[in-house]
Subunit: 96 residues, 2 copies
């Protein structure tokens, strides 16, 4: 089973932006400690500061499955509920 990459795009409701900064930092720091995590970065769109993009790499689908049941991911998932204008998730295989 080879590496999988994830791009997740969040458009945050403005009233929650400050809270998101705190939660984003927490989930980045916790996720990077996971054994199957190859890369876990959070980016901000330079044109629209309410758009945040996770660029992630995982050793395998199993690593993603394990991530999805961690306390920090479950906490983050509960936190974002109702606080996003939009959300887009791409699970990717690298071609070139």
């Amino acid at each position: 089973m080879s590496q999988l990459n994830i791009v997740a795009i969040f458009t945050v409701k403005p009233e929650y932006d400050k809270e998101f900064r705190v939660e984003f930092k927490k989930i980045v720091e916790a996720s990077r400690k996971e054994a199957g995590c190859v890369r876990y970065d959070l980016n901000q769109d330079t044109k629209n500061p309410l758009v945040y993009v996770f660029t992630e790499s995982w050793a395998s689908q199993q690593a993603i499955d394990e991530h999805n049941v961690t306390e920090h991911f479950k906490h983050f998932k509960a936190f974002i509920d109702g606080k996003l204008e939009g959300r887009q998730l791409h699970i990717l295989k690298q071609l070139f």
Copy 2:
């Protein structure tokens, strides 16, 4: 001027998918040779194979500007014209 990351999402019209594979490979190989290119990868969405995602990192905005006037980028830009269902571009700064 610090590093900038780019996520570009292309949804390809099915009739052009084969041609895109050839062109994607060419622009990846040529772009990686550019001095300011830190990372230039092409991914395919595991759920929708007509969705392709570039994940790029550039040393600076100047490096992106130089990339945008290269022959290989201008060729690719002309090639994609009229061949996409959708296109999304995010120029990003890494936060965490």
